[in-house]
Each structure stands twice: as structure tokens, then as C-alpha cells.
């Protein structure tokens, strides 16, 4: 089991009239809103789930094993607003039953830039952060929202990682099962593939009354797992699933607290961290991914962030600003630029499923994608003026 822990730095209202007003670039970010949301999620999810996981690890004497991926922006929030969250993560890591996964510090789309130097730089920043907090160097990499293609796999192999995580989508697997380890076509590392069906049973469907699996109990879920064929099942879930996407009242914490026991009742099942998984299993085949995939939406590609003209315009603007900034070398503006790269900013501009008012609206603080575009683009225009 692996949990993604991320919070973006949401933007302030920024109108066209603010462009070129020489306001400090740090004013782009809505500190008040970000603080509020972080505190709310920390109380509902991070702190209680950390506690529960620690108890479970101790109760099962380290046989319950998990992995985390923490983004840099999330850690910055912790350090600024609630250091106790970091303390509890350190306690979890100290049990030896918890692994840390590498990713880009800013949870960005830099893996999709034509030039991968920024991607590499952000991974290095993340590496330093994990080293500083846990004195540990991750062995397995997972890109933003599991975005993956051959080019990214090759780069991660060159950077010395043993494994990489992505979505076990049918598009790349065809008839093959995600419950084995694979090898990229062009690199000698191992690929862990998310079992999206079982992962989404917890992440998306847990509290859905229309779902035939409802109500999902730990013993039912363990039974499903025990019937699966293969070497391993990768359950990769947003950490906010616990207490935030599904509230306490849905029974999500009860589910989690009974899960280790129900799984470990089966003699053939155990828990491993992502590093242990890549050490224990050998690849059974190759995967070839010329076009980027991800774990997002039904499409499982990058159209969530790059699906309409507005998103492409922002993405290109962002890249151009980066090229200019790198020539100029202004640390403060560079940091602001990187925070603007967090994929969430483009996610808010997605027009997919707009008429059904689906999950995108749930996560956005804007009145729709068009509002999101105007605000984000205005900020980018201001930053552009600052460096020209």
C-alpha cells in the first residue's frame, strides 16, 4: 500500500488590472485559504491516519508495511503551519515498516517538458528534502499523478532508481495483469503497476451506495485480494481518502484498522514496501509507453492537465518563463515559478466532464475552469513582465 500526500499552493484572485502592478510575487498565493485548507485536512486526515497507521504497525509487529510519497509543497505546509504532522511521519518512518518514494518536489508536469533538466532538478530537490527529514534516499520513483512514458522511465533509470510506479492501465497492458513487476522497454529498472480496480474501490467507490460492492468491509476486501492471481497487488491511494474524501462517518477508518488483520489471516499474503517489492520480484515482461499515461480520470492520460487550448497556453507560457528565468538566475522568482508549476493549477482549468459537474469541481476553489484559466494566466502574465 502506498499513499500520495499532496497539497497545492492555491492562488489569490488576480485580475488583469493587477498585471504589472509591481506587487510582490509571493502575493500570488492565497496564504489564508491554503492555511485553512491545510489545517482542516490535517485534522480530518493527516493526524488521525498517521496515528492509526502507527498503531497498526506496532500491533502487527512491523508486518503491516506501507509507503508514502510526500510532495515538497505538502512538507512546506507542515513545517509552516503544523510541525506535528512531520513529527508523526518521522515516528512512522522510524518503525522501519515505512518507505519513502521519490517524486518531483513541486508535484509538477516537468516530466513533460521538451527538456528534462528542470524535471531532474525538482527530483533532486525532493531527494534533499527526504534526506533532511528522514536521513534516507528513496529507491523508487513515482512521477506526478503517475505520469509515465518511455522517456521518463529512461531518465529515472539513468538517475539510479531501482523502480518506478505508474498506472496499470489496460492501454499498456492489454491482456496482461498489473499484479506482476515489469521492465520498461528502454531501461533496466522495474515498473510497479497500480491495480486501479482495487485501488479505486477504496479511493473512489468506498462510500458510494450505488456500487454493488457497498458496503465495503475489510474482510470482503481481503477476500477479493486473496482471490487475485499474480505476485503483488499495488494499492496506490490518495492519502486524503482517509477522513477527507470519505469522512469518518463512512467507516473508512474502521475499514483501514481491520484491513491488516484480515489480509494477514491469509497465509499466502503479506505486506511489502515499494523498495521491498522491487527487490523481491523479477520482471515478467516489458512495457512500451510512447505516449504519456497517468492515473487520472477515465482516460488515464495527460488530458486532465493538457486537454484544451487554455491548458496548452498556460503550459507553454510556463515553459517560456522558465527559459528566461534560467538565463537570469533570480532565486526568489525561480521559486515562485516552480510553485506555479504544481499540476493542480492546470487541473483547475480542465473542461472535462464539466456538464456532469464531476470530481474536478470538488477539488477546485474556482468558479469553473474558465475562472481558473483567467486567474492563472493573469498571474503568469505578471510574472512574465517581472522578468522582461
Amino acid at each position: 500500500m502506498y499513499f500520495e500526500v499532496h497539497q497545492p499552493m492555491r492562488l489569490n484572485r488576480f485580475s488583469v488590472f493587477n498585471i504589472g502592478s509591481n506587487a510582490d510575487a509571493s502575493k500570488y498565493f492565497n496564504n489564508k485559504l491554503n492555511h485553512e485548507i491545510f489545517e482542516k485536512v490535517a485534522k480530518k486526515c493527516y493526524l488521525p491516519t498517521n496515528d492509526l497507521l502507527l498503531n497498526l504497525i506496532n500491533e502487527f509487529d512491523g508486518k503491516f508495511r506501507i509507503s508514502f510519497s510526500l510532495t515538497g509543497t505538502f512538507v512546506e505546509y507542515c513545517e509552516r503551519f503544523m510541525p506535528s504532522v512531520i513529527d508523526s511521519l518521522k515516528k512512522l518512518f522510524a518503525t522501519g515498516a515505512v518507505d519513502m518514494i521519490e517524486e518531483t518536489y513541486f508535484h509538477s508536469l516537468s516530466g513533460l517538458y521538451d527538456d528534462l533538466d528542470e524535471f531532474e532538478e525538482q527530483i533532486r530537490m525532493h531527494r534533499q528534502m527526504i534526506k533532511r527529514l528522514f536521513n534516507y534516499e528513496p529507491k523508487v520513483f513515482r512521477n506526478t499523478e503517475a505520469i509515465y512514458d518511455n522517456r521518463i522511465a529512461k531518465k529515472i533509470g539513468e538517475m539510479g532508481y531501482k523502480g518506478i510506479i505508474t498506472e496499470g492501465t489496460d492501454k499498456i497492458l492489454g491482456w496482461r495483469s498489473p499484479n506482476y513487476v515489469y521492465r520498461p522497454i528502454n531501461s533496466d529498472i522495474k515498473v510497479l503497476l497500480r491495480n486501479y480496480s482495487l485501488s479505486d474501490d477504496i479511493g473512489f467507490r468506498f462510500s458510494s451506495r450505488h456500487w454493488p460492492g457497498f458496503p465495503l468491509t475489510a474482510d470482503k476486501y481481503a477476500r477479493w485480494i486473496s482471490r487475485c492471481e499474480g505476485d503483488l497487488i499495488n494499492l496506490f491511494i490518495d492519502y486524503e481518502t482517509f477522513g477527507e474524501h470519505h469522512w469518518t462517518e463512512t467507516g473508512i477508518f474502521d475499514f483501514l484498522s481491520h484491513l491488516p488483520n484480515e489480509v494477514l489471516k491469509n497465509k499466502q499474503l503479506d505486506f511489502v514496501t515499494v523498495s521491498e517489492a522491487v527487490d523481491r520480484y523479477q520482471p515478467v515482461g516489458e512495457i512500451d509507453v510512447p505516449w504519456a499515461i497517468s492515473w487520472a480520470d477515465e482516460d488515464r492520460d495527460v488530458s486532465t492537465w493538457l486537454g484544451n487550448d487554455m491548458q496548452f497556453a498556460c503550459f507553454n507560457e510556463l515553459k517560456d518563463i522558465g527559459k528566461k528565468l534560467k538565463k537570469r538566475g533570480d532565486d526568489e522568482l525561480m521559486n515562485v515559478w516552480r510553485r506555479l508549476q504544481t499540476s493542480d493549477h492546470l487541473y483547475y482549468v480542465s473542461t472535462k466532464g464539466l456538464e456532469d459537474g464531476d470530481v474536478h469541481a470538488y477539488f477546485s476553489h474556482y468558479d469553473g475552469p474558465y475562472d481558473g484559466f483567467i486567474n492563472y494566466m493573469n498571474v503568469l502574465q505578471d510574472l512574465k513582465q517581472k522578468i522582461s
Binding site: 487550448d309 496548452f312 464539466l354 469553473g368 474558465y370 475562472d371 484559466f373 483567467i374
Partner: protein, 371 residues
């Protein structure tokens, strides 16, 4: 199924959304094999005749009053209330035949609807396209209208509201049981795209309800940043002299064109060539004009409270009084091509959900619930 429908206006001659709605609704009902006799006042403009098998337009008597008229209008000089009563009585006399139900639209024919329900002993369905609160812009609403509206709403077997916003007004202000109100959003016959020019358009009656003054304030702000943009205020109404003065006082009169009343063809043309449509209504039960603009490939900025805004996703929303934000959005549409393009494209796609066929279907469901 046979329906006696009582309306006030019908294209080609019409003053507002009520006429557009009746046209689309009756034609689609006729296509679905519902027989409709549409009663309306005889005016000096002759009504369109129907080429549909199941639809008959019946002109009754004469009146000079329109649903958007106010008693204080000079031309009606004190005859306002009498003409309304006289006309309603006439309708009650003229509606004869074997009908399954009566369907009325807005306050003007409500009295006739209620009387016919009692006389013929058949159910009454009432469509509410606007209330006195909307038409007055929530400033000094007139009790005479409100009382007529309340009586009609109370006696109707079912009410069709053009938005949840309007349903809310009917429940809160008129004390009507929400269970007998169905919401049916409006629709549009698509207009088609044209060659776009740098024109920002307002189109509507120039009354307090439609908020043209806020449009001009936003225009002033936009022009400070985008001096080449042009603004068109299309339509007529009692606010016209004040609006012209306002434009002159703000020093933007060379950039604002007041068109006066436009023909249907001119309306279509102006939608087609405009780059941005703004609907800054103070109170807007639905706002069909916004759908018309979208159907001409023109992205729309609409009041947050408009029924259109609650129903339509691919638009920009503002508070009508927030002219800075309105200007922000106008400028963004003028500057950011990808925004304009995506809104136009996605908007046209969403229009597939707003057909008169669908409106007729939902209306028939309401009919079935009462007969």
C-alpha cells in the same frame, strides 16, 4: 392531448423571452402530437401563422399592453388596469372547445387562466418566466401585479419555473408549495457563427431589470486597458436617455453604439459579429439571449443569479454590481484567444442539451401529472 395555451406575444413580433419560449414550445409540442390552440391578443403587427398540423394560432380581441409594460407608462394613460381586466374577460369568453388543460404564461393572462379553470373544470398549468420582483429589479415591486401572480400560482395545479432561481422566488416570496413547481430550463434555435469583430455586446430591454448601466461602467474600465474595443447596447426601453447620458458623462460615447430596436435579422447579425456577450441583469429568471449568443459562437458573461448561469456550465459568471470583475473577464476574453476559443467551442457543444424538443418533453411530463 389537447391544450388551450394562452400567451401574449409570438414571433415574428415579440418583446422578450416569453414569446421565444411560446414559439419553441408550441412547435415542439405539435411535433410530439400534442394539439395546441394558442390564444393571443390581436395587435397591429400580425401574428405568425402556424404551418404545423397540430398547432393553431388564435388571435383574440385587441390590446396594446405587453407583459413588460408598467402602469405608469404615459401612453396607456390610466387605462392600464381596465385594459388588462377587459382582455382577460374576452379570453374567457373566446376559449371554447374540448381541452384537457389550460396552460398560461406569466401574470398577464393569469386571471383568465383561473377563470377558465373554474368555468371548464379542467386543470391549469402556469409557466413563470418572470415575476414582479424581477421586472422591478427588486425595487418597489407593485402589489397589484404580485396579487395577480399569487392568486394564479395558488390556483394553478402545477407551475413551471424557468430556473431554480425562479422556483426559489415563487416559494419564498409567494409562499407556494415547492412540490407543485417543476423547473424547465429554456432552449434555443441555434443562430450560427459569423465573422467576429472586436465588439462587446449588450442586448436586452433597457429597463432597470437588465442592468445596462453596469455594462457601461465595465466598458469604461475596459477602454482604459483595451482602447480599441467597441461596445454595442442593443434594444429599447425607458432607460435609454439615461444610458446615453451616462456614456457621455463617462466620456466613452464615441466607443458605445446605441442601436435602438433591432429586427430579428439584425439581432442575429449582431450576435454573429460580436466577440463577447454580457448579460448583467439585476434579476434574470433565465435569459434566453445568453443561449442565443452562445449559439452564435459568442462567449457569454452572465449574472451569477441568472437562471442561465445555474443551468449552463460553459460561461463566465459575475455579480452584476461587480463591474471590475466584469471588466476583468471582458478583457480576458479579448486578450486570451485560447479562452475565447474554448468557451465558444465547448459552449456550442453544451447547447445540444438545450433544445425545444427537450423543453416540450419535460412540459408534457408536467401535463401528464395533472390530467
Amino acid at each position: 392531448m389537447k391544450v388551450a395555451m394562452i400567451g401574449w406575444e409570438y414571433p415574428p413580433f415579440k418583446a422578450g423571452g416569453l414569446g421565444t419560449h411560446c414559439y419553441g414550445l408550441t412547435r415542439s409540442l405539435a411535433d410530439k402530437d400534442v394539439k395546441v390552440d394558442f390564444y393571443m391578443p390581436k395587435t397591429k403587427h400580425s401574428a405568425g401563422s402556424s404551418n404545423k398540423k397540430n398547432l393553431v394560432i388564435k388571435e383574440v380581441g385587441e390590446t396594446e399592453i405587453f407583459p413588460y409594460d408598467r402602469p405608469e407608462d404615459k401612453e396607456l394613460a390610466g387605462q392600464f388596469f381596465e385594459s388588462v381586466y377587459r382582455y382577460n374577460n374576452l379570453v374567457v369568453e373566446k376559449v371554447k372547445g374540448n381541452y384537457d388543460l389550460i396552460h398560461c404564461h406569466d401574470w398577464l393572462t393569469m386571471k383568465a387562466g383561473v377563470a377558465l379553470k373554474e368555468k371548464l373544470g379542467i386543470p391549469l398549468v402556469l409557466s413563470v418566466h418572470s415575476t414582479e420582483y424581477d421586472r422591478s429589479g427588486w425595487i418597489c415591486p407593485n402589489d397589484w401585479f404580485i396579487n395577480i401572480e399569487r392568486e394564479g400560482m395558488e390556483k394553478a395545479d402545477r407551475i413551471i419555473a424557468v430556473s431554480h432561481f425562479t422556483k426559489g422566488v415563487i416559494v419564498d416570496k409567494y409562499g407556494i408549495n415547492p412540490d407543485k413547481i417543476s423547473v424547465v430550463h429554456n432552449a434555443v434555435y441555434p443562430i450560427g457563427e459569423g465573422e467576429k469583430q472586436e465588439i462587446v455586446l449588450f442586448l436586452g430591454r433597457l429597463t432597470i431589470q437588465k442592468g445596462a448601466e453596469f455594462f457601461l461602467r465595465a466598458a469604461k474600465k475596459v477602454l482604459e486597458y483595451e482602447p480599441d474595443s467597441r461596445f454595442v447596447v442593443a434594444g429599447m426601453g425607458d432607460m435609454l436617455p439615461r444610458l446615453i447620458n451616462q456614456a457621455v458623462d463617462m466620456g466613452i460615447s464615441s466607443k458605445v453604439i446605441f442601436t435602438g430596436l433591432l429586427t430579428e435579422e439584425e439581432v442575429r447579425h449582431i450576435y454573429r459579429i460580436s466577440n463577447v456577450y454580457v448579460m448583467p441583469s439585476v434579476s434574470e429568471p433565465f435569459g434566453i439571449t445568453a443561449l442565443e449568443a452562445v449559439s452564435a459562437g459568442t462567449p457569454t458573461i452572465a449574472s451569477k443569479t441568472a437562471g442561465f448561469s445555474e443551468a449552463f456550465q460553459n460561461c463566465l459568471r459575475v455579480d452584476f454590481w461587480d463591474t471590475d470583475e466584469m471588466a476583468n473577464k471582458i478583457i480576458s476574453l479579448l486578450r486570451y484567444d485560447p479562452l475565447h476559443k474554448t468557451l465558444a467551442m465547448e459552449g456550442k457543444r453544451e447547447l445540444d442539451l438545450f433544445t425545444w424538443d427537450r423543453v416540450a418533453e419535460k412540459t408534457i411530463n408536467v401535463y401528464r401529472g395533472v390530467i
